[in-house]
């Protein structure tokens, strides 16, 4: 089916309206999500508290005292029909330095072996594409990226780790992502970035937003330690 002709509205409780625009993980559907989200935000609809755009849908958080849900659906349907009329702001391209393998990427050998690749080939394949951020979630700043080269697709770990260190870069199925904070996680870890991806005290707490592009740049352990020292204000890693 792909992109729907008209949004499908689903009820997510007394304060949430889920606006679904398609039934696939697809760059065009995701772009439409971001366009409609921008249109909703720009319309300053009375009673809309927050919007959360994701792969193919937007959760619109509303105050039922300030707006009737029927009216909200009418407004959003109308906005969706205007989606050709705006262009999204130019996405940013963020370079993420990654020290692959070793203690930072304990699963890189599993990824290499299961595809008959060398570790160098895994690094080369993973750091080549421009990945677009389809959405962020799970933990603050965790980007869900498209699209991992098919050659690297590896099933998630059967037992998730209780603690994945902040900055870890992982692969699960045909997805790749970065853990911005230390958290549990079941993805195959192939490297780590020294960048602070989430820093609430910074003016911009996040380095990127949905729609932006990420490219991974392989770095040495020395460079990792140098950047890590600057980012975290220490000399250790």
């Amino acid at each position: 089916m792909g992109l729907y002709e008209e949004p499908i509205f689903r009820i997510a409780g007394d304060r949430g309206l889920l606006v679904e625009l398609g039934d696939e993980i697809d760059p065009q559907i995701n772009k439409t999500v971001r366009i409609l989200n921008l249109l909703i935000l720009r319309s300053n609809i009375q009673g809309v508290v927050e919007t959360i755009p994701t792969y193919r849908s937007i959760l619109v958080y509303y105050d039922p005292i300030k707006i009737e849900v029927r009216e909200l659906c009418v407004i959003i349907r109308k906005l969706a029909s205007k989606k050709q009329e705006i262009t999204l702001p130019e996405p940013k391209l963020i370079e993420i330095p990654v020290c692959y393998g070793g203690e930072f990427g304990p699963d890189i050998e599993i990824v290499a072996q299961s595809h008959n690749l060398t570790i160098e080939e895994v690094i080369k394949l993973h750091s080549q594409p421009l990945y677009q951020i389809y959405m962020m979630g799970f933990t603050p700043g965790f980007p869900f990226l498209g699209v991992l080269p098919e050659l690297l697709a590896t099933p998630r770990l059967s037992t998730p780790r209780l603690q994945v260190p902040a900055g870890s870069v992982g692969i699960a199925g045909n997805q790749t992502g970065i853990y911005p904070i230390t958290s549990p996680g079941g993805w195959n870890l192939i490297g780590r970035t020294p960048l602070k991806l989430f820093s609430p005290e910074r003016k911009e707490p996040f380095l990127y937003a949905p729609g932006d592009f990420i490219r991974f740049r392989p770095i040495s352990l020395e460079e990792f330690q140098e950047i890590h020292g600057k980012e975290y204000g220490d000399s250790s890693s």
């Binding site: 409780g13 949430g16 919007t51 979630g137 609430p200």
Partner: protein, 325 residues
């Protein structure tokens, strides 16, 4: 002007600073956080003359033991508790006037689970990304992003010394806290009720039990398995959830998602209404609950009526309706 007013003698097992949530950052994967029982949190703040979204304490399982460093008004709401002031039992006294040197000890929870402690003038913590709420996993908000520890000093945000004396109101006359042994949670079908056409009847007619896996992320339930229809997809494309979303993973065991969640890839059979999310937040492991199906329009009527009652109470208590300048 910040004034140190309370010292934590014993924080209790899990006590954090919360408000009504961090709005506007879920797009970046930051969960909404905030008080789980929003109604009890608002009442605590109103009782001491604060606005609803002021920073206050949320304690789980057991309350804190506090020493007053100055004369200060506090209010305790939420779970029904047993508490002492300087060793003497006090009951249903809200708000509570503490004099410098007094020791307030919320010793025991009799019913319910979460206790809210508001301080007149608000608890002074930095506003991080629009909120005072603590999100421990990301070390965000509250006091250094962590639960309270022994020796922490709470300061008030505003000097409330010359505020008018707070009013005493019998809350139960307006809002009756519901600690019934079997909770009835009103829930609206959706967003993926169409994946459960054959089991939705079972979902709404069964009794479930809260398991020990219950925290600010969600409550796992035990009870009859709720199978997905044979032709429904195993998982959905990840999408956001609401506090109160009832997710059914492939094992068929429902999980009520709460405030420290962002996106997930399992179907959600129904969503609990706002007022009942407050109620279920007071449920403990072992408690039983049922879901009652209601339509969206009915839920909205209930929502408006609940807020009308709350606003009457707020006006009686003379509490501000918005964040003061």
């Amino acid at each position: 002007m910040e004034i140190p007013v309370l010292k934590i003698i014993d924080p209790g097992p899990m006590t954090t600073v919360q408000d009504l949530g961090r709005i506007g950052y879920q797009i970046y994967g930051v969960p909404v956080s905030g008080a789980l029982d929003q109604i009890s949190a608002m009442l605590a703040n109103w009782l001491v003359g604060n606005w609803a979204g002021e920073a206050l304490l949320e304690a789980t399982f057991l309350g804190p033991k506090l020493e007053a460093l100055e004369d200060v008004w506090v209010a305790v709401t939420g779970a029904k508790v047993h508490m002492t002031l300087n060793g003497r039992e006090i009951e249903d006294q809200n708000p509570i006037r503490l004099k410098a040197g007094d020791i307030l000890w919320i010793k025991k929870v009799l019913r319910g689970l979460r206790i809210y402690v508001a301080v007149r003038g608000g608890i002074s913590v930095p506003r991080v990304m629009g909120s005072y709420s603590t999100y421990v996993q990301a070390k965000l908000g509250g006091i250094q992003g962590r639960p309270l520890i022994k020796g922490d000093i709470l300061k008030t945000r505003q000097n409330a010394k010359d505020w008018a004396k707070p009013k005493k109101v019998n809350l139960t006359a307006y809002i009756v806290p519901d600690f019934a042994p079997e909770l009835i949670l009103r829930a609206i079908p959706g967003p993926q009720d169409n994946h459960f056409k054959n089991s939705i009847g079972l979902f709404y007619s069964s009794t479930f039990k809260v398991t020990p896996k219950a925290d600010r992320m969600g409550y796992r339930l035990e009870g009859p398995l709720i199978p997905k229809d044979y032709n429904a997809p195993q998982s959905i494309i990840s999408e956001p959830s609401m506090p109160g979303s009832v997710q059914i993973p492939p094992d068929g065991k429902p999980i009520i998602l709460l405030v420290e969640q962002t996106v997930g890839g399992y179907s959600k059979i129904a969503t609990i209404i706002w007022e009942d999310v407050c109620k279920v937040s007071q449920a403990r492991p072992g408690d039983e609950l049922r879901f009652k199906k209601i339509e969206l329009s009915e839920a909205h009527t209930i929502y408006r009526e609940t807020w009308r009652k709350l606003n009457v109470l707020r006006e009686i208590l003379n509490a501000p309706s918005h964040r003061p300048r």
